[in-house]
Structure formats: C-alpha cells, structure tokens
C-alpha cells in the first residue's frame, strides 16, 4: 500500500520547480560543434510560433554562419563596464530580468563575468534568472564541468580554468547534445569555419587532436545519458513505478593534503552521481602533518560532499572506522606518491586498504598526468638551511669535544654522545634532520674515532656491530622523537583552535540580549580581520527580506558597505553561503560575508572588510567565530522566545485568575442587588418597613462592595504601572494604625500593641494606611469568627515592623509563596473564600513603592499547635531617623 504512493519527495521536487523557469542546455563536446548555431536555429522556430525570444548574449566568435543565424532575433544590448581604463562588455542581467522575455538565449554558461559584475560566473546569472521564472536556453562545452576537470586535463593536456559546478547541469530540465564526429569537426576546423587559419593550424595539433575529440565526445555522450537516466528515475519515483531499486550506496573519498586530493574529490563526485549515492569526503588530520596544510575541502563542499575531518595517526584505521560507521560501500583514494620503504614493505595506503577491507569496492584514481601542483606551497618549505647548519655544527662540536677529551671517554660511549645530538636534532626540527644528523654522526664517529682512524673503513667486527647498532638506534630514536615533536605541534595547533573556540564561546556567552551579542560578534570579527565588521539580518523575521545592519564595529562601520557589498550580503543571506571577497560570488568587493546559520536555519550574516583574502589562519578564525556566533545567537533568540512564552503564559494565568475573581466578586453583590430589588418590587406593600429599609441598605452595601472592588483593580493597575509616586516622610505608626482600624467597621480588634510609645517610620501616610486597611480586612475575612485580629508594631534591626495576626484557617505551605500575587486566592478544595484576591497584592505593591517589604507566616509560631493555625502578615518599613 505504502509503496504504491508516489514518492512525496519527488512530487515536492516537481512542484518546487513550478515557480522556476525551465533551463535547456545545448551541450557540446568541443568548441565549434555548432551549439550556438543549433540553439539559434531552434529559437527561430520558437519565434515563428510566437514566443518572445530574446538573445541575452550570443558569442559568434566571428563565425559567419552563426552570425547569419542570429539575424532576426532581438538582442539585448550589452552592459558596458569600465575596467582599468577600458570598457568591457558584459551580459546585462538586470535588463534581462526587467524585460522578462518568453525565452532567453544565453551563450557560454561557463563564462567568467567581468570584474564588478554581480556574480562571478555567468551560470550564477542564469541561476538567478531561473529563480525569477525566466525560461532559458544556454550552451555549454563539456570540458567546463567541474567534476571532469581532472579527466579533461589528462586527456587534452590542458587545464580548463573556467569551470562550473556539475549541479548547474542538474538544474537543466532538458539537455540536448549537439554532436559532430571528430573527423567532421576537424574538417570544419581545416576549412577555417571555426578559427582563423593560423589558430586552426595550432588547434589541430593541440586540443583538436582526433583522439582528444573522441574522448571528449564520449564524455559528453555519457553525461547526457546520465541526465536522461536521472529524469527517468525522477519520473518513475514521481509516478510510483515499482522498481527494483538499488540498495543504498555510499561513497567515501579519502583525501590528503596533496594535489591528488582534488582528483579524488572529482572522481568521488562522479561515482556518487552515477550511483545516485550520498558521498563523504574524509580528511584525516595526521599528527605528523602541520595543520595549515589543509586539502581542498572547499572544493568538496562546493561539489556537495559531506566533509568530515578526523584526527588520528593511523590513517587506515580511522578511514575504516568512518567507513563502517557510515555504511560505506565504495572507497575512493588517490594514487599518492609513497616513500620507497612503504612500497617495499607493502605499506602503501592502497595495499593496506585492500588487505583490510574485503567488503568495500576500492577505487584508486589515476594520478594527475601533469606536473604535481602543490595545493599551496608550504610556507616554511625547504629553503631554511639554518637547522641543517646547526645540526652539522652540533655534530662538529660533539666530534671536537670527543677529540679534545681524547682518552677520557671510551670510544664506545661516544656513540651515546652522538645519539644525544640526534635526539636533539629530532626534537628541534623533526625526522628528516634527525636522519641527517644520524648519518653525519655515523660518518664522523667512524672517521674520527673508530680504528683505523681517518678512514671510513672499519677494522674490528665489534666496531662494525656498534656502528650498525648506533645507526639503527639513532634512526629509531630520531623517528620517535620526530614523531613526538610533530604530534606535539599538531596538538598545539588543535589546542590553539580549541582555545580560540573557547575564547569565542566565552565572550559570546556573556551577552544576554540579542543586541549586546550582535555587538560582541561584530567586535570579535573586527578584531580578527583588523578592519570594520558588521552583523546584518532582516529586521522582520517573518518576511526575511530587507537586510539591515544590526551591529557594527567600530560603531558605524556598517556604513562602509558599498552597493556591491550589499548585493553580496543579500546573496549570502538568501543562499546561505559565503560571498564577497575571495569567494565564488562577487569576489572583487572589499567585504566578505559569512552566513550565521544553524541546523534550524539562517540567523544573520557576518560581514568583514578584508584587506587580504588569502590569509588562511584569519579566515579560519573567522569561520570558527561564525560557527560559535550562530550557536550563541540561536541560544539568545531561543531564550528570548522562551521568556516571551513564559510571560504570555503568566499573562494568561493572570487573565484566568482575573476572570474567576471578577466572576465571583462581581456576581455575589449583583445577586444581592438584583434579589433585593426584585423582592422590593414584587412585595413592596406586604413587606414591613424595617425589612424594606434593610433591603435598600443591602443594595447600598453591595454597591459599595463592587465599587471597592473596582477601586482595588484600579489601584493595582496604577501600582503596577508605576503611576503611584509615594511622598515619603516620617510617620507616627500608631496614629496610622488607628486610622486604618477606623476604616474597617463591624470588626472587633484586640488592643493595638506598640513596643514603644512613639514609633516613627519613613512612609507615605496615605499609602501606609491603605496597605494596613488591606491587611486588616484580610485578617477579618480569613480569621475565624469571634477571634479579633491583633496588631502590633516594633522596631527590629533598623526597620519598623507592623504585623497583623489572625487566628483563622491559616495558609497552606504551598500557597504561602503566592499569597501576594494578584488574584491569587488560597483554595481549599472547591471552596472559594469571598474576597478580591487583590488585597494582599495591593499591600505588597504599596509597601514596595515605599521602599519596604511584606511577608506572611502561617501557621503562627505563637499559637498552640492543635488549634487554628492562624496567619501573621508583617509589613516592614525603614525606620525614621
């Protein structure tokens, strides 16, 4: 049942395409096969069918046939771009978007745009136009495909520099192969229909060799076939064709720091594409390898690989662990140059993997035919002769010392001294120097100390053994010491990296508000690049359209972002990829933008003005900062959301409490009023005068009650909004208590207990009186019948304490913390004690407004345990000086 349904992913992919324009690619194996001509030819047919065809950019390369074909198709004027004193002509993206033709023709997808264009490459223009809904036809030569770069270089001996990612071809809804046999193409070339005669001459011997053309043609044919296959699959998936689906393959590419890594990555990409399998690029950072020699993992990311970096010494073991953990079926490695001893002892990577991985398919990529290019020349590479000189000097010193001391050291023990030199060299400078030191130490020892002296021949057998042992021990010691040093260095590098992460997360962990955090991020970024930095995000989180500078360092640094910078920032925001200086998009601007994103989505864009786009450690630090910043930003935002949700919940709770309270506290007097009025109207004549008077008095009483309730709500609102400004002055507490008691009629009171005849507190007399009235009313309401609330006042530790005590039902322990909250009323079962639930809240608000405090105690400590628990509420105020 389940499987009969169309695959939702496939359907989704089909529908998400709907808003996009459709792309048709005319793919050729080599220049001159007639792609442009064919595209124009078909476009004319569409034009005659009434389609609004516009030639966005057509490169005729001076070929008359193509130029003839283009006649009659309206052409988009090129945009002129001044560059270094001359005008460059470039495809006008904005004009094309504005014209919205029915079909746009774009020649040479792989073209690199003139500096200052919005996108670095023309295919990016096309991508944007597709997203905008334009239908596009474009031409492309197969050699420009990124993943084929290596193969092409091997086949044709030319490295193509204008490449474009393979996914561009995957964007195409339709690919048409413009095919011409190699022989026919060469004929064309000879006839001068492609290049001028002199150029054609050279081309025939170079790129256009028959063998080259044949290979390229085969590659092009294969790509088109693969694309068709993809479409069939998509169609089958979308239309629930039950297939025998291949089990899930997974490709793992192992890359090292050498140039072979790029070839491995490209090969793995093609393999993964062919298998329709996910692929992982694994880089094992070995302890013996300086951490700045990173392979071109950026290429892997760009090609869509999942990149993983592990640290470890045993490359094979780490690779196998990852392969097993991720259910890898295909392993791709490069044919890396291996030292002779590895080859001799069968310790090459390929051999070890073969031996230890019977369950994987192992692919070994061809080694690059061209001269090996280093990914980046090691900065300290080889030219530094100082250590070598030092090691030589060291051996010379040891030799000199041995000669001077002569017989004092037995010559066998001299070996130990030389060994020490070897260890020193290894520790200082690594393995190679250690081996060198061991070698010259060996020679020096033999030459100067082992009979016959001053020859390198050895007379005694035991000396020969001693020397051999020395050589072996020195080599091994040097090896170990060198490895130790390398590991220590790698460890140090990782510690540096971790320290940086730690420092960032510490600094970014401090701010609690989003604004403070954004400023901190900008400050950190500015410190890294030693230039202005800014954090940008859309102010409206829902719409996510307009980008604004949210924070900048130094202050106002965001204003330095120019128009091109803004374009790069917007692209970084919408595409979630680094843009600007030194990246694939808008690389010529002064600013570089890094998206701040987490698994949950984009948060902001971090922009910095980079003076130098090739400073590796600086960019690495920036990336680390971006990662940490994204996490910190998300944390702050989530915290903010949680706080808002909590506040909303609290508001909701209060609202419910308010409604309950309103419902009870308004309904009771309303019932009284309605009932009394109804009784009076129905039985006015029969009721005795006294009863009539009592009912009228009852109405008045209830009205007063409701009025008081409303006044309480108003009072609380004013208190909470800070509208009440107390007039603080010395107040005689005893007098205020008497006034308050006078305002609570029909209640009995125990005599007021004053610890001193005159107690003066700092308070607002009117507010204090109101607070006391609330406390007393509360005590009367909750106190048991017949017991009178008792009021006492005393000076305790610099405070005046006024306590109102009752002998009532008390307050349950779980209610005690909440009794001063608005509308909180202690509930016992379903019973509700009449009252507003506001009295204590108002009392607290008043006390706090006067700089005092309030607290409740229940059960009372001074009452017998077996009686009513009772409650004491104590008001604290500053004592008057």
């Amino acid at each position: 049942m389940e499987q009969d349904r169309p695959d939702p992913d496939a359907l989704l992919a089909a529908t998400t395409r709907d808003g996009r324009g459709r792309l048709k690619v005319f793919l050729g194996a080599a220049p001159g096969v007639g792609k442009t001509w064919e595209m124009l030819n078909q476009a004319k047919r569409r034009q005659s069918e009434g389609v609004d065809v516009l030639a966005g950019v057509i490169e005729t390369h001076g070929r008359a046939e193509t130029a003839g074909q283009a006649v009659g198709i309206p052409e988009l004027p090129r945009r002129r771009m001044p560059y270094r004193g001359q005008d460059l002509e470039e495809f006008d993206l904005d004009e094309a978007l504005a014209r919205r033709p029915g079909l746009l023709l774009v020649d040479e997808l792989a073209h690199t745009n003139a500096p200052g264009s919005r996108h670095a490459k023309r295919w990016e223009d096309v991508e944007e136009m597709l997203a905008a809904g334009l239908d596009i036809w474009a031409t492309l030569n197969v050699q420009h495909l990124e993943s084929l770069n290596e193969d092409i270089a091997r086949i044709a001996g030319v490295r193509v520099t204008e490449t474009l990612p393979d996914r561009v071809l995957e964007l195409a809804d339709e690919i048409e192969l413009v095919d011409l046999t190699p022989a026919a193409l060469r004929e064309r070339l000879k006839a001068g229909r492609i290049y001028r005669a002199d150029v054609a001459e050279r081309a025939l011997e170079g790129f256009f060799k028959e063998g080259n053309l044949g290979a390229l043609r085969e590659i092009a044919l294969r790509r088109v076939a693969e694309h068709v296959d993809d479409h069939v699959r998509d169609w089958m998936r979308a239309n629930r064709v039950v297939g025998p689906w291949p089990t899930r393959d997974r490709v793992l590419a192992l890359v090292g720091p050498d140039a072979a890594g790029e070839a491995v990555i490209r090969y793995a990409k093609r393999l993964a594409d062919a298998l329709r399998a996910p692929w992982i690029v694994l880089h094992v950072e070995r302890a013996t390898e300086a951490s700045d020699r990173r392979p071109s993992l950026a290429l892997a990311t760009q090609l869509g690989a999942e990149v993983e970096t592990r640290a470890g010494f045993d490359l094979v073991q780490v690779a196998l662990d990852v392969a097993h953990a991720r259910n890898v079926t295909h392993l791709v490695i490069g044919r890396a140059p291996a030292p002779f001893w590895r080859r001799w002892f069968g310790r090459t990577l390929g051999y070890q993997l073969l031996r230890r991985t019977p369950e994987f398919a192992l692919h070994v990529t061809p080694s690059p035919a061209l001269a090996r290019r280093r990914a980046a020349p090691a900065p300290s590479g080889g030219t530094n002769w100082m250590p070598w000189a030092a090691a030589t000097a060291l051996v010379a010193c040891v030799t000199g010392a041995g000669l001077l001391l002569g017989g004092m050291i037995p010559q066998e023990a001299l070996g130990m001294v030389f060994l020490a030199a070897v260890v020193a060299a290894a520790t200082l400078q690594g393995l190679r120097l250690a081996l060198y030191t061991a070698a010259i130490g060996f020679l020096a020892w033999d030459f100067f100390f082992i009979p016959p002296i001053h020859t390198i021949t050895i007379a005694n057998a035991h000396d020969a053994i001693g020397l051999a042992v020395f050589l072996i021990v020195a080599s091994i010691t040097g090896l170990l010491a060198g490895r130790l040093r390398a590991e220590a260095q790698a460890g140090q590098a990782r510690i540096d990296g971790l320290r940086r992460i730690g420092a960032f997360s510490r600094k970014l962990g401090e701010p609690t508000t989003e604004a403070a955090l954004l400023s901190e991020i900008a400050r950190q970024a500015a410190a890294i690049v030693d230039g202005p930095a800014a954090v940008l995000s859309a102010s409206d989180q829902e719409q996510q359209q307009e980008l604004h500078v949210q924070a900048a360092a130094p202050e106002g640094g965001g204003e330095a972002i120019d128009e091109g910078g803004w374009a790069a920032a917007r692209r970084s925001w919408t595409h979630g990829e680094p843009t600007g200086r030194g990246t694939a998009t808008l690389p010529d601007g002064a600013w570089r933008f890094v998206p701040l994103r987490t698994a949950r989505g984009r948060l902001a864009v971090l922009g910095v003005r980079l003076a130098d786009a090739s400073n590796g450690p600086r960019l690495q630090a920036l990336d680390t900062l971006a990662d940490q910043a994204a996490v910190a930003l998300e944390r702050v935002r989530l915290t903010g959301q949680a706080a808002r949700a909590e506040a909303a919940e609290e508001t909701q709770r209060l609202r419910t409490a308010l409604l309950n309270s309103l419902s009870h506290d308004l309904r009771t007097p309303l019932t009284g009023i309605r009932g009394a009025a109804g009784t009076l109207r129905a039985a006015w004549d029969t009721l005795p005068d006294a009863t009539r008077a009592d009912l009228l008095a009852g109405i008045e009483h209830d009205v007063a009650r409701m009025t008081r309730f409303l006044a309480n709500i108003m009072e609380l609102t004013r208190l909470e909004s800070g509208e009440i400004r107390p007039r603080i002055l010395p107040v005689s507490v005893g007098e205020v208590i008497e006034l308050a008691i006078g305002r609570v009629p029909d209640a009995a009171f125990a005599p007021v207990n004053l610890a001193q005849p005159v107690i003066q507190a700092l308070a607002d007399p009117a507010l204090l009186e109101q607070a006391l009235v609330n406390l007393i009313e509360n005590a009367v309401k909750y106190g048991s019948l017949g017991s009178a609330p008792s009021i006492r006042a005393a000076v305790v530790g610099g405070h005046v304490e006024i306590s109102v005590a009752d002998e009532g039902v008390g307050i349950a322990a779980e209610d005690l913390p909440h009794v001063f909250d608005s509308f909180y009323r202690a509930r016992r079962g379903d019973q509700v004690v009449p009252g507003t639930g506001l009295g204590l809240a108002i009392a607290r608000g008043l006390a706090e407004a006067m700089g005092g405090g309030i607290a409740a105690q229940s059960p009372r400590a001074d009452l017998p345990v077996d009686g009513s628990p009772g409650t004491i509420v104590t008001l604290r105020l500053p004592v008057a000086p």
Partner: protein, 231 residues
C-alpha cells in the same frame, strides 16, 4: 397549600440571606438559614425542610460533598444556586441528585417559580399521575399512548421512553447523562448527539406544543415544562 412550606437556604453570603428571607417570606414560605455546610446539614436533618436552596461555594465543605451527605437522609428537592462559569459543577450536582439550578445573579420571580415547580413535583411523585396533560399533549403512561389535540401520535420506542422520562420528571432538569443512561444505557453516556436527534424528532412529532414543552438547558440537559414554568 402554599403556606407553611419550609425552605432551607444554605449560603455563606449574608447579602443573599438578607434579601432571600423577606422574598421567600413574602411568598408565604417559612425560611431557615444556614451560613455554612455543617450548619445547613444540621438544619436539614432537624427541621426537615420541604425544599433546599444550596450554594455550591461553601467555606467549610465542598458543595458536591454537602449534596451527597444531604441526599443520604433527605429526599427534599434541592435547587442549586450556581455560577454560569461553573457549568461542570452544575451538571455534577444535578447528576448527584439536585433537582434544579438557578444562575447567580438570579431574578427572585424565577427562583420562586422553580421552588413552586420543585414542590409540586414532590407531590406528583407521591401520588403518581398516570396521565399527564399540557399544551394539548396527553401522555398516558399506563397505556403508552400519546395524543396531540386528541390525535394519536406514533412514537418509536426510544422516543416514547425519552418522553415518558421527561413526563415523570416534569419541571426537573434531566442532564444529558441521566437521559442517556436511562434510555440508551450506561455505554452511551457521552453520545449527546443521539439526544439532539431524538429530542428534535420528538418536538417535531408533537408539533408546536413540542417546542414549547421541551426546553433545552444549554450545555446541561432538557426539561419538560409544567404549567408553572411555562407561565
């Protein structure tokens, strides 16, 4: 006959007693006042009131519990004084044996009508009337016959069960639960939509009188209105 009936009012709000006593006395009842549940239960046992007005929000005892204890020894009709926002409480009380309810703030006239209906229902229950008449509708419980304006009406067994239950409890609110349990059985206590359908059919078959006779108590249940409450 009206004179002499004793009404016990159990409420903790003095303001309620303040107007209820004269109102009830003016209508010819004797009034007993209980300020809390303990006091009220004592009076209910000692004075054997003819009807009881019970506030559910009492300070010393849960109103439902007070009702349960009251029902343990007293069959007097109980009218609950309740609040609109305590719907569930009201229904629980009716299920637990309360006869009727009024919502605060209530009109005195309405309360008096409810009291009269409750008292009359007690008398009707004592001498079971075999034939009930109202608005031209006659229900002959002995012969399971229903006529409207002397024309026999055909009712399905369920419809008749529903109508006869309402007739036996005329003027009383019957909760959804009570009706469903009695007519459809305990398994259907939550199928309120059955009731809506059958009550609708019943009202239709009884004609205009049906709409006047069978009152909907929103969210609570139904009640057949006797002459007093149709007033």
């Amino acid at each position: 006959m009206r004179g002499g009936a004793t009404i016990l009012v159990i409420d903790d709000e003095p303001q309620i007693h303040r107007f209820l006593r004269p109102a009830l006395e003016a209508a010819g009842y004797r009034v007993e006042q209980g300020m809390d549940a303990a006091n009220g239960l004592r009076l209910a046992a000692a004075r054997a009131p003819d009807a009881i007005l019970l506030d559910l929000g009492l300070p010393d005892l849960d109103g439902q519990e007070a009702l349960r204890r009251l029902r343990a020894f007293s069959a007097a009709p109980v009218i609950v004084l309740s609040a609109r926002d305590r719907e569930a409480e009201k229904i629980t009380a009716l299920d637990a044996g309360a006869d009727d309810y009024v919502e605060k703030p209530f009109a005195v006239g309405e309360l008096l009508a409810r009291i009269r209906a409750a008292l009359r229902h007690v008398r009707a229950r004592d001498g079971v009337a075999e034939i009930w008449r109202g608005e031209g509708v006659t229900v002959d419980l002995a012969h399971r016959r229903v006529t409207v304006d002397h024309v026999p009406v055909q009712l399905s067994p369920r419809e008749y069960d529903l109508l006869s239950l309402l007739v036996r409890n005329v003027d009383r609110v019957l909760t959804h639960r009570q009706l469903l349990t009695a007519v459809w059985g305990p398994a259907h206590v939550d199928d309120v939509q059955y009731l809506r359908v059958y009550v609708g059919q019943l009202r239709q078959k009884l004609g205009p009188a049906g709409v006047r006779l069978i009152a909907t108590e929103p969210g609570v249940g139904y009640r057949l209105l006797g002459s007093e409450l149709r007033g």
